[in-house]
Each structure stands twice: as structure tokens, then as C-alpha cells.
Symmetry: C2
Subunit: 181 residues, 2 copies
């Protein structure tokens, strides 16, 4: 078992409405010292793999401010403070794809940029969907794109399906379903 | 083809040594306006899938400042300004696992947090490895952990193998190798 580096000092070096950056001075087990910057975590997010039938996942096309383009990917969102993650997952798919789910299951908790950012995201499989639309805070309606699981290679080749978390979530779901892909 | 939102205004709202956060005011095609925060991108990074033989990938165990714990994952690093990405990938595996590669291939360019962060990472398959150690800036030597590709489910179940990009990279590599996973 590796001993975590000792935190010698920490201080906030930048702060905006959404982001707080802290600088940490660390001493590793071998005595080496380093100063790193990190974004301490808040709440988790959820990313949902909604299956409309056994062979078809519902993707969305949504504007992403970071990459400043429309991205194809899985529905996702932040878990509100005090909210159960499965309730959050159900709420997000109602807002983003217009379906609720009677069968939600957390498959794995993943990190996005563990070297720098503390944030984690829960991958949730959603089955037994039923039409249910809830109004979210999206600036425009999202396009829903059904995709056959058998055509995952075509999806991977697409330049606009590029979020590592969406790729990971799809494969994790396929493994959990016991599907050879 | 969706028309990207129009950028009405942008300004830097926070800045540290590593992170710059800007606020953007956007007008969507339907007239809706939103203010978002984003971290504009710099250089790409690389994440490498190094195969020591046809059935075994070399993972590393490394301290991650964001999650403040040791994480099991794939070797990775930043492409230096002006550096060829494949040269960067080769350099990183020499620094982190003690091998160079005679057969490097970019499989896909992924985003990490496209909703907020512009950064992209190239997934690189590395084969035909040979021992070659180069000193990096790591504070301590990294533990190298060989993992059999056939045992990917056991890996996915591990709490310390959780970076979405590592999960995505492994599956992308398996697909590229034509292996049923």
C-alpha cells in the first residue's frame, strides 16, 4: 500500500463562479516535494446509457461550451445537493431525451481528469423507458439520436462522438449487459 | 447542420499558473442567451496503450493530485509545444514505464470534459516495445502493473481503475486490434 503524499500547504489561487483552483505543496514518501494545482471536487455528476430497446441506445446532440461545437454523446448532468443519484439520472433523461426509466442501475463511478480535478461521474444504465418529458434548463431542445449497439465501430469513427466518458460508459454498459462487442 | 451559438462577449474571470477560466455570453440559433464558463484549450495530451505482448497491457500506478490518491491507469502526458504527438507518446512511455516503441499509432482524439474544458487527448497504441528508460519529472518512480487483456472485467471492477479516458482507451485499442471484447 502506497503512502499518500503529505499535504504541506494549500491555498486558493483562482476562483470563478464555477471553478476553484487550489495550489497544494506535497511531500512524497521518498522526500521529494512538488507543488501542484488542483480543482477540488463538489458534487458528482451522472452519465446515463438509456436503452430504448435491447439493441438501441439513445444519444443526444448538444452544444458543448468547452469545445465550442455540437457533440454527440450520452445524456448527463449534475447531481443536485442532497439528490439521490438515480433520481438525478431519471430527471436528466426526462429533461434531455423525453423518457423516464423504471430500471436504473449504477454501473461504475469514474473520474474525468484525476490528475487535476476531483470530480467524479456515475455511469447509470437506464432500461424499461417510458415517455416522460420534463423541462430542463437547456437553451434549446436537444436532438435525440438512436444508435444501434451493433454499430458501435461506426460511432467510434465519428469525430463528433469524442467524449472519453461517453465512450467508456457505452463499453461499460455493454460489458454489464454481458454482450460481446 | 446545427448553427453554433454566436459568441456575444468573452472575458477572463479567473487565472492561475495552469488554469484560465473565461466567461462567454452566447446566443443560440433560437435566440436564447446563456452565460457559460469554460477553460480554453492549450496543447493536446497523449494517453498510450502499451502492449508488451499481444495479450498484455502495461498499466501504471501513479499519484493523482486531483483525486488525491494513487490511481491505476494508462501512461499519459502533455505534448510539448511543437512536439510531434507520436514523439510525445514515445517519450512518455520511456519516462513512465521504461520502454520505447517501434510501432506507434494514433487511434482516436478524445475530449475529457467538452462541456467545460477545451482540452483533447490522443489515444495512441504502442506495440513492438523495447527497454529504454528516460528520466521524467515524476517525483517518484511509478509502479508498472502488467494486466492481461482477457481480464478486463476484473480491471473494470477495481475502484482505483476509474479514469474514464483509461477505460475508453483500452476498449478503443481492443476494437482497433479486432478483438472481441
Amino acid at each position: 500500500m502506497l503512502r499518500k503524499p503529505k499535504v504541506l500547504a494549500r491555498r486558493v489561487v483562482a476562483q470563478s463562479r464555477l471553478f476553484r483552483v487550489e495550489e497544494v505543496e506535497l511531500e512524497f514518501a521518498n522526500g521529494a516535494r512538488r507543488t501542484f494545482e488542483r480543482v477540488p471536487g463538489g458534487v458528482d455528476s451522472v452519465m446515463i446509457v438509456p436503452l430504448i430497446d435491447a439493441d438501441t441506445v439513445l444519444l443526444i446532440r448538444e452544444y458543448a461550451a468547452g469545445s465550442h461545437r455540437y457533440e454527440l454523446g450520452l445524456p448527463k448532468g449534475v447531481v443536485e445537493p442532497g439528490e439521490d443519484p438515480l433520481v438525478a439520472a431519471d430527471r436528466e433523461i426526462q429533461e434531455e431525451i423525453g423518457y423516464g426509466s423504471r430500471d436504473l442501475r449504477i454501473l461504475k463511478r469514474v473520474s474525468l481528469v484525476p490528475g487535476y480535478i476531483e470530480h467524479h461521474s456515475l455511469i447509470v444504465l437506464a432500461r424499461d423507458l417510458y415517455p416522460e418529458r420534463r423541462l430542463g434548463d437547456e437553451p434549446e431542445p436537444l436532438e435525440v439520436v438512436p444508435w444501434r449497439l451493433a454499430e458501435i465501430d461506426t460511432l467510434l469513427e465519428r469525430d463528433d462522438f469524442d467524449e472519453a466518458r461517453s465512450v467508456a460508459a457505452l463499453f461499460i454498459a455493454l460489458r454489464a449487459l454481458g454482450r460481446s462487442v
